[in-house]
Amino acid sequence: MAKTYDYLFKLLLIGDSGVGKTSILFRFSEDAFNISFISTIGIDFKIRTIDLDGKKVKLQIWDTAGQERFRTITTAYYRGSMGIMLVYDVTNEKSFENIKNWIRNIEENASADVEKMILGNKCDLDAKRQVSKERGEQLAIEYQIKFVETSAKDSLNVEYAFYTLARDIKAKMEKKQEASNPPGARSGAHQLRANEQQRKPTSWLSRCSVL
């Protein structure tokens, strides 16, 4: 059967236990189904389809909940992952400090060019806040990673975060594709135009590009 999508990205949710990774994975984390059969078994991953600039993008998002108590996520889990959401809880100082450890874990196990984003979750719980937004931003600058505060409970910025990460991966892939397959070499029509340019190099610039 024909492929019905343009891109497929594997994403991981990583962070300490209790920061709300599973809530981020689901849009409605209300109690309605918390007693259901599904929640007792737990979700391994989900597939979401989004539209990115007219392209159909399938996201396969893995929840690492349950594994994080071992402090590391195994290499097998990272295999093939193209984007990672690093999640901490703004009401839990320790979970914020551990982001650095998670980044180290990623550097040791994941592909070097994996896209990352830091999420400061539970930002609706302002009275209990232990980590200021500024500290989150500072950490993100230090590692040159994008950052946003989220509230899975209020559905704040969760969609934005997934779209942002997916868009960054897509941009990186397109850049790579262009580098390995320059526009001029892609189709016969382009090829012809490139040849024409070679025959009559009218400007200094086009001559330069041939060299």
């Binding site: 059967m1 019905t4 999508y5 497929l8 994975l25 689901f26 849009r27 409605f28 209300e30 309605a32 189904f33 918390n34 007693i35 259901s36 059969f37 599904i38 929640s39 078994i41 737990g42 979700i43 391994d44 991953f45 989900k46 597939i47 979401r48 389809t49 399938k58 396969q60």
Partner: protein, 121 residues
């Protein structure tokens, strides 16, 4: 429950495929595009979506015999997969916890969505 045991084929099936878009009954999340899955009949037991916890640990099941067969998991628009239980993963709504909506077979990598557990629109 007075849900009909079997759903009328002509309302939901066309050319052996799902005639309509498949959504979650509870939150409306889109699960399958129209004409993206094959209709099949097979008997399969699935745990109820809501378990009566008073019955102490025992999983209550029902037999379902109408499914949509999805060969490639990326055919789904939005769907959740549980951890593996005895060579299966159960399917859930990707936006709320509703499920099992069906199951995924580890060996064949095929998925099966129960007609009675989803919304057709």
């Amino acid at each position: 429950m007075d849900k009909p045991a079997e759903m009328s084929q002509k309302d939901y099936v066309e050319d052996g495929q799902n005639k309509l878009i498949i959504k979650c009954k509870f939150c409306g999340s889109k699960i399958l595009d129209k004409k993206s899955a094959k209709y099949i009949m097979q008997e399969k037991e699935l745990p109820f979506m809501q378990q009566d916890t008073r019955k102490g640990g025992e999983v209550q099941i029902e037999t379902i015999n109408q499914f949509y067969h999805v060969e490639n998991m990326y055919t789904f628009e939005n769907i959740g997969f549980t951890h593996t239980v005895a060579n299966h993963k159960y399917l859930s709504c990707a936006d709320c916890y509703a499920g099992p909506l069906g199951y995924y077979e580890i060996d064949t990598k095929h998925s099966y969505v129960a007609l009675t557990r989803v919304e057709h629109c």
